[in-house]
Symmetry: C2
Subunit: 289 residues, 2 copies
């Protein structure tokens, strides 16, 4: 049970976290701050936060739990804004979808207080964002990846694990690098491929005619290409190292398959397709191995 | 109204065509042949065909309409098997998802009778195949692309157009090359990318761990990677020229985006993502422009 949550960012992720914490009886009071004062006000009116803070620093003041729910590109600036009021008893978490850049920012800015920070990535979201779409059930049943480093205080890590479990999440721990490699493979690269395909088709003179013939396969494959450009620009930049690594391995498979097709080598081509088809047929979302 | 349909291939596509033609009152009698005798027998028992033919040649005998509903890789052999009984009054069509290879096979084998052949690609299907999944509604409301060549008899082309419209389809005409370019872009390349991504992930030592973290974006993006390996091997081989062309344009977009990400050039990266996101947000399946 926490006394006071300092919430920085009252949008979909942050606001939903506050609502879930309250509903689970895991926090007594929420002090919130958003960059836009109207968001902060709306969050108070909606009962998401109890007190509006005029700055990120003041949202942290007196808190025993702090959640950063800001775009990953704003993480370092937010750490800088709050570092003077951070104490070693405070548990600090984020919800960003990349972890190495967040850990780097934490090392750089938090220094002696880095042990208080438990980097977290709850695997959830919606196509829509903003305080008006907050949902106390957003986290229930979802996976949360914690990426502690050697300096993370074991007590804080344990409290973080229990907190997310208290919200109905399945928690696992990974190194920040392993986390970023995994999400480059199963999320960031697929987004990039979908963006690149639609970009390439729509850049051709006959692109519109082509698109008018596209069916349900195209619809599902490119659904993620409609995602928010600013958010995905940030994710691609933040995780570019692992993204480039995964893209190299993808290129190896793609160029192999294209080459087998060009050379009319049906047997090898079918073998590679069959490997993929078998793996995908047996894959189930959220299922371990 | 046709007197007799000679149906070669009584599976999902062919069987559903026969059922739809009967229901629309567009044909009096269906003589059917399938490579597997048990399929042909089943088709007769199910009322899809009226008479079982012991060979493709005998299925064609006496027909004024012939439909080839066989894998694209079997088109040339099927033309060879039936050419001695083809007459200039017969309308012959296929249902293949690539057209240049089918037209090439027709030119090579049918020669003087090529004018009877109207290449057709009805854009429909199911995840499942076989005579037991035939459905008289499979074609209703769907798009059909006809790809006539200079030698196609205008009378046959007109009859083909009216036939598909009689089944409730939206018919359009394109050159075989334009058809193959369009489907390379919106169908064959997306399949190849999805196969390559799953192949690349599952070839990594940590692939299983990565896959256990994948969410709904990955699920939809890779749905088509579970498709039938033999069928897609054939499609990729049959349409390799256009597939390679589309892959080149895709690579240009992908490598540009990766380069902007690597160089930390967020503005250019966002611009490319935004183009794709805008196009995909406004795209609606089956909608012209």
């Amino acid at each position: 049970m926490f006394e006071q949550l300092g919430l920085i960012g009252c949008g979909l992720m942050g606001g939903s976290f506050a609502l879930a914490m309250k509903r689970a009886g895991l926090v007594k009071r929420v002090v919130g701050y958003s960059k836009s004062p109207s968001t902060t006000e709306r969050a108070r009116q909606m009962g998401i936060i109890d007190v509006e803070a005029p700055s990120a620093l003041l949202a942290v003041s007196g808190a025993d739990l702090v959640l950063l729910a800001v775009p990953v590109s704003a993480t370092e600036a937010t750490f800088k804004a709050i570092r003077h009021l951070i104490t070693n008893n405070m548990l600090i978490m984020d919800v960003g979808s990349t972890k190495r850049d967040v850990v780097d920012a934490a090392r750089k800015v938090l220094r002696d207080h880095i042990g208080s920070f438990v980097p977290a990535h709850p695997i959830t979201g919606k196509e829509v964002s903003g305080v008006e779409h907050t949902d106390p059930e957003l986290y229930r049943g979802k996976q949360v990846v914690l990426t502690p480093i050697d300096k993370t205080q074991p007590g804080h890590l344990k409290r973080a694990q229990e907190l997310w479990e208290g919200l109905g999440c399945h928690v696992q721990q990974m190194a920040p690098e392993a986390h970023d490699a995994a999400f480059a493979a199963v999320s960031h690269l697929p987004h990039l491929l979908a963006f690149a395909l639609v970009h390439a088709i729509s850049s051709q003179p006959q692109g519109k005619d082509f698109l008018s013939l596209a069916g349900p396969g195209f619809r599902d494959f490119t659904r993620i290409a409609a995602s928010d450009p600013k958010m995905w620009r940030d994710v691609m930049l933040a995780n570019r190292l692992e993204l480039v690594e995964q893209a190299k391995m993808f290129q190896r498979s793609l160029l192999n398959m294209l080459q087998e097709a060009e050379q009319g080598n049906g047997e090898k081509l079918e073998e590679m397709i069959a490997q993929a088809s078998l793996v995908r047929t047996h894959w189930r979302m959220g299922q371990k191995k």
